[in-house]
Amino acid sequence: MPQRADAAALSYRDCVSAKIKCLRYYRQQKKRVSRDRVSLLFMGDNDMISQLTSTERQYALVILVLMSLCGLVMAAGGRGDPLGVHGFVVLAFSVGLAFVLISGFYAPQPDPEQQTQYYDDPTKVGIALTMAWAVFGMFFGVWVASLLAWPDLTFDQAWSSFGRMRPVHTTGVIFGFGGNALIATSFHVLQRTSRARLSDQLSPWFVLFGFNLFCVLAVSGYFMGITQSKEYAEPEWYADIWLVIVWIVYFAIYLRTLARRKEPHIYVANWYYMAFILVVAVLHIVNNLAVPISFGSAKSYSLFSGVQDAMTQWWYGHNAVAFFLTAGFLGMMYYYLPKHAGRPIYSYRLSIISFWGITFFYMWAGSHHLHYTALPQWVQTLGMSFSAMLLVPSWASAGNALATLNGAWHKVRDDATLRFMMVAAVFYGIATFEGSFMAMRPVNALSHYTDWTVGHVHAGTLGWNSMIVFGAFYALVPWLWKRESMYSPKLVEVHFWLALAGAVVYVFAMWNSGIIQGLMWRTYTENGVLAYSFLDSVEAMHPYYIARAFGGLLFLTGTIICSYNIWMTVRAGKALATDNDAEGDIPVFARNAVQAGE
């Protein structure tokens, strides 16, 4: 409201000066575009560092020196233990980054004008890291899928055994692919919907590189046999502590940037992103409470034991799904889908009550992972009943997304980017319905421990998480690098069909094998004896495991094509001829700000 009052008071002089600023910005953008084309994705090291103020460069150096020291201490204290190896990893990582930093340390100071632009370099690098992890994680997914069909594919190496490669896959895709996508898009969405530049230049890099160091420690640890044996929380204590530090800085960026926002209200996407950051911190800290056997060892023991341990783990596991794989990605959807479709959100109220519904109901439902176990039955009943109610806000979110597309269905038909987002919303609806269904104890009696769970998970992760990331990236990459479109819209189309086919083959294969398994395990003969041995059921899975590996291969192929397409868009995409888009894409210069006479 105050802006409108101010706007009326705008003088002619203000308008002219704003116009001049706009023009200057326009020229600068053009310069940047051509520079980008030469320096490709990462821009030269100097370019990246020249965006940091000299104080930030000094801080960065101090942080890297401290990290190197930590690495040294770990390497020395953990001699003869895998911890020592990780010490060297930390050391190499920090020294490597320090070299990059020092090479540009005395580059010219950043143009003060940069404060009038959004800060997208971390998002750009984040996109590259996302795609690298996607290919890595999905490659290991295809490998472990193949192992289940052809068990000899380990080549008799310890590191390539199923037990070690499975978490490499899950961490690679959930944290490497999903986490980087969340970080990259959250920085972009946060700035655009707040009309404010990120709070500073250093902390986004700290979060991005710090998070990737965590992922590297996690994955390299599994290969060496380091694990806490908690699903999705396998990394050991030192990596967990590091992630807490990174996460606090991440949340601080959010709060500080929101505090600078030029919009009166906080857009719903930011609520989701913030819930994701905040709750994941809580989950991570509680579930990883543990005592290391010594400070020179990677091994630790959990503070919890027995059924308390199981309950804590699945409170964590279930809510990791809720806040990492759902809330964060809903944030992504709430920005890129309406933006790309050019449609208003169907219902503001629906988006708000679904947010609170999801946040509230999810917290109670974790015990549906422990039906028919030593967990007292009353906890199971609560998990089951809250899982039923959870379906309401879940479907409300999916419905809100699909109804937003009303008036844009012709675009969905013609534009694979939007189709990715539409299909993501549909799969989100399917996966949540299925989840609530499986949370019913009688259904769970059939589905638990079978491939049905795996099919459910992948309806979520392939159909929902991956598709929304791909859709968001295909929209975002041309915006960020100021390209007319993706390098090859045709390849986007090819990717869409590969991804959809891969996900459908995967999910159907696992539904089949899961239900067959579940039935085989409970079938009795007339004589009252079990009709099938476990081996019989393993044998019956073989064709489905082959089908699943094939579906995964299709999906991986699509991901590789996507990476290529993004790479070529950055390298050789056609630069935007008119700058009308970019004109609005700056923090203080958007319409309102000019009116407000910033």
Binding site: R195, Y267, Y346, R349, Q377, T381, G528, L530
Partner: protein, 292 residues
């Protein structure tokens, strides 16, 4: 705040907020959402009333049905068990092996359950078809370490071999080479002799080793494997004159056996399987070698 606009497609007004071009409509929450929420809430309340649900203090609400998953499972298992005993299990428990084997109608469920038990518990070592593999004996062959009657097989399963049960069978093939009871030449000689007993293709130079080997065998091996090398089921010492070999029959394998010794490990199943299950398994294993 922007002025509210009317969206042409839906006919709804916007809220007046714009974020980077994104607007929101003032669509009220569809009634179906409330209906759906009410429905699931009713379902939840029903669950809470009928089943154990809400904690209070050190206890919890027990639910009207008095339902407890532990009792339910225990009852179901007991009932199924009783039905099985009544049907055919009781007979298997009561009758002796010969009587059961003579009754084809009774052997049918025994075979069914025996195959399932065998694949779930034994196949990992002995193979799905019980034909064994290097280090694990073939249970379909005519040769037995400890004896092939159903009773003896049952006993072997119950106590295991070099297992954890107190009365486990123990078997030890000494490590003649490592423990320096025999030197390399002597071992090569006795290996040549042993291999000749089952007419195996002799290795180069074996012809001259057989006679001295026979002498060494008589002095070192006969105490366990017997004078004629036909083995001793009291000690689990295998027959060395037949075609079945647990650890392989080429010169290298037999040399390794005599040099390093062998000590196969078969778990004691008495603590893990019921007497009835062990009886069924013994009957099942016994059927495997019967010519069909």
């Amino acid at each position: 705040m922007e002025p509210r606009k009317r969206d042409k497609v839906t006919g709804r007004t916007t809220t007046g907020h714009i974020w980077n071009g994104i607007e929101e409509l003032e669509t009220p929450i569809p009634k179906v959402v409330f209906a759906f929420l009410a429905g699931t809430f009713l379902f939840a309340v029903l669950c809470w009333v009928l089943y154990p649900a809400w904690p209070f203090g050190v206890s919890y609400t027990k639910g009207l049905l008095g339902f407890d998953q532990r009792n339910v499972v225990t009852e179901q298992v007991a009932k199924a068990e009783a039905a099985r005993i009544e049907d055919w299990g009781g007979k298997v428990e009561a009758l002796d092996y010969a009587q059961i084997e003579a009754d084809p109608a009774l052997m049918q469920p025994v075979r069914e359950e025996g195959r399932r038990l065998f694949e779930d518990n034994c196949a990992a070592c002995h193979g799905v078809k019980a034909t064994g593999g290097p280090g694990f004996p073939d249970l379909t062959a005519k040769a037995w370490l400890w004896g092939g009657s159903s009773e003896t097989i049952a006993e072997t399963i119950r106590v295991g071999i070099n297992g954890t049960a107190e009365d486990t069978r123990s078997s030890q093939m000494l490590s003649f080479g490592k423990d320096q009871m025999l030197d390399r030449e002597q071992i090569l000689n006795v290996v040549a002799y042993v291999r000749s007993l089952s007419d195996l293709e002799p290795a180069a130079g074996d012809a001259a080793r057989i006679e001295p080997g026979k002498e060494i065998f008589a002095q070192n091996c006969a105490s366990c494997h017997d004078e004629d090398a036909k083995g001793n089921q009291e000690l689990g010492a295998p027959n060395l004159t037949d075609e079945t070999w647990i650890y392989g029959s080429d010169q290298q394998a037999v040399y390794t056996t005599v040099y390093n010794g062998r000590q196969g490990h078969m778990p004691s199943w008495g603590e893990r399987l019921t007497p009835l299950q062990i009886k069924i398994l013994a009957l099942y294993v016994h059927t495997l070698k019967a010519p069909q």
